[in-house]
């Protein structure tokens, strides 16, 4: 009861923190999509480059977010941005690359060779093939990558509260430092619910973006 009262009393703050959280993750993953998808498409041209790019991206994801912050802060301090939005957004951008690049690459790479040959055989140029066949087929898989990135980074953004980026993590950090279980639990539950709800909404969007003729194929992907 006490928890609910606390949440209701602080509804304004909770709402603004949630919006902040979503906005930061949204902007960063949005930017990451703008870079990741073209990179994913570009690396289908050369398998060795693809392997190198995916390897680097997977190493980046392996680095724990708090360690990444710890490394970025001293570097960004040089331009006076050590604490705040910037390191958080950069971290989200970096972490989003792997799922988005990997899914784009895999989806385009795995387009049935017969389709590619048919497209070539009827006289599509490389760009037409990409636009009319390969990208439409890859969209659901790319969207799945975006979804993974968003869910992953909602968690990263929660930790970013410790470097002053705001968001729902602030409740958790204050809860811990002030030994206030109300803030702690409200923050933890809110960020968990946010992740779950966003995951399901993006799944719904992903299904809607799947061309009707491919529903069966998309389920196995």
């Amino acid at each position: 009861m006490e928890l609910i009262r606390y949440a209701l009393d602080n509804l304004d703050l909770l709402t603004s923190r949630t919006i902040e959280h979503i906005a930061l993750v949204g902007v960063a993953v949005g930017l990451a999509t703008l870079t990741g998808v073209p990179i994913g498409i570009a690396i289908t041209k050369n398998e060795r480059v693809a392997r190198a790019v995916l390897y680097v991206a997977s190493i980046i994801v392996t680095v724990p977010s708090i360690a990444l912050f710890g490394i970025m802060i001293p570097v960004l301090s040089l331009i006076g941005q050590g604490i705040g939005y910037l390191p958080a957004v950069i971290a989200v951008l970096l972490y989003s690359q792997l799922p988005i690049i990997r899914n784009t690459y895999t989806a385009i790479h795995n387009v049935d060779p017969a389709l590619r040959e048919a497209a070539r055989g009827i006289g599509m140029s490389q760009n037409q093939r990409l636009r009319m066949v390969e990208i439409p087929l890859a969209v659901p898989v790319i969207m799945a990558g975006v979804r993974t990135a968003v869910v992953l980074n909602i968690g990263v953004m929660a930790i970013a509260a410790y470097i002053g980026a705001g968001g729902l993590g602030t409740f958790i950090s204050r809860g811990i430092s002030q030994s206030d279980p109300r803030q702690l639990i409200v923050g933890a539950v809110a960020v968990s619910l946010l992740a779950i709800i966003v995951d399901y909404s993006l799944l719904a969007i992903q299904k809607r973006l799947t061309p009707r003729g491919m529903e069966r194929a998309a389920e196995t992907a």
């Binding site: 040959e117 009827i122 006289g123 439409p136 061309p211 003729g213 491919m214």
Partner: protein, 387 residues
């Protein structure tokens, strides 16, 4: 017309260069289907795919309707050639209509024109336009999908088509149906077609000409009947199979073997007269009885005519079977075996008797052109492999 001039493809593999197609020179006349036939790895698919540059030739030229295609833009070239592949390759993200109209759209046709074209093509391949155009490939059976694949290739009405084992992935029953449909369409469309197959029966059925490949070389290029009657060497002969003489039965029509001389009797004739005619014509067992319209109505057997008195109309047996001038000899042979007879009456479109076909005439016809190969396992001389 498609003409290949010394078309050659050498692949660089880790094990060194491999010649997949070696100086292929051949010509497919306008309006004909040419089957490229051979075992896997013989170079038939490589040769086909060099025509629309899915595989880039190492050397040699391709001429289409007399024009050297070497200087043409690859995409323009491909859009002017219909292309059908075994895996069909319908785009799963597009509706049937979008799939069929993809080439016209690439060519920049206006909407009304390509939509009308889609409906026309659907009627041509005997699929109801309203029921299918808005559906997706995954909702169709394999046979239906390949019909759409053919329609897509025909969409911009290209004079030339390339087909890479187009019906290979379809079950045998549907394959026969789709082959027949395609031949019927071809009679009207008169496309110039190159068609890869590894199935000798399909080659004989579909091809106006057959080009047999082996290890990157064109071994023999002739009509199906010539191929079966006179295979150039032991390889071709073994590829055609030991029953190649029987396969020719498919290719020969009754019209080519029929003898228009046939003795008949009327229902009003006596059995005595019938016996005399049987002897006159030198028939072994029986003579055909026809009505006033000269349609076959019965058989009078020699044994009966010799032992019985009376009129033919009271003592005839049923006619076991008749054949038409357009039937092939395979059907005739099958009927003869089933009915235990050595001859069958032949009727015209109105059902009037116009001749007869005998087992002897058939074997004579086939045998007169049948030649066993000259050389046995001797190496193939160069002159024989290069046309």
């Amino acid at each position: 017309m498609i003409r290949l001039d010394n078309l050659t493809k050498v692949f660089d593999t880790p094990k060194g260069p491999v010649t997949a197609a070696d100086h292929i020179t051949m010509e497919v006349p306008s309006g004909e289907i040419c089957i490229l036939l051979g075992p896997s790895g013989c170079g038939k698919t490589t040769t086909l795919k060099m025509v629309n540059r899915i595989i880039r030739p190492t050397s040699g030229k391709v001429f289409i309707n007399g024009e050297d295609t070497t200087g043409l833009d690859t995409q323009d070239l491909r859009r002017s050639i219909g292309y059908v592949i075994q895996q069909i390759g319908l785009f799963p993200n597009m509706t049937i209509e979008e799939n069929i109209t993809v080439v016209p759209r690439l060519l920049g046709w206006d909407k009304a024109r390509y939509q009308e074209r889609a409906r026309e093509l659907m009627r041509m391949i005997a699929l109801e336009p309203d029921a299918f155009l808005k559906r997706y490939p995954s909702e169709l059976s394999g046979g239906q999908q390949q019909r759409i694949g053919v329609a897509r290739a025909l969409a911009a009405d290209p004079p030339v088509m390339l087909m890479d084992e187009p019906f290979g992935a379809i079950d045998p029953i549907n394959r026969a149906v789709i082959q027949d449909e395609f031949l019927k369409m071809q009679q009207a469309l008169k496309k110039t077609i190159m068609f890869v197959s590894h199935d000798i029966d399909e080659a004989i059925k579909m091809g106006d000409r057959v080009a047999v490949f082996r290890e990157g070389r064109l071994v023999q290029y002739s009509t199906p009947d010539d191929l079966l009657a006179a295979p150039r060497n032991a390889f071709v002969e073994s590829f055609l199979g030991e029953d190649r003489a029987l396969k020719r039965l498919n290719l020969v029509k009754v019209r080519e073997v029929v003898s228009d001389e046939i003795g008949t009797v009327r229902p009003g004739d006596t059995l005595e007269q019938a016996l005399a005619r049987i002897d006159d014509f030198g028939y072994q067992n029986s003579i055909l009885m026809v009505n006033d319209k000269h349609q076959p109505v019965g058989l009078i057997t020699r044994a009966l005519a010799r032992t019985t008195k009376g009129y033919c109309r009271d003592h005839f047996q049923n006619v076991p079977a008749t054949v038409t001038l357009e039937d092939d000899l395979r059907k005739v042979a099958s009927l003869m075996f089933a009915q235990d007879t050595t001859w069958l009456p032949c009727v015209d479109d109105e059902g009037r008797v116009c001749g007869q076909i005998t087992q002897r005439a058939m074997t004579h016809h086939l045998g007169s052109r049948f030649r066993p190969t000259q050389e046995d396992d001797t190496p193939i001389p160069d002159a024989a492999t290069r046309e």
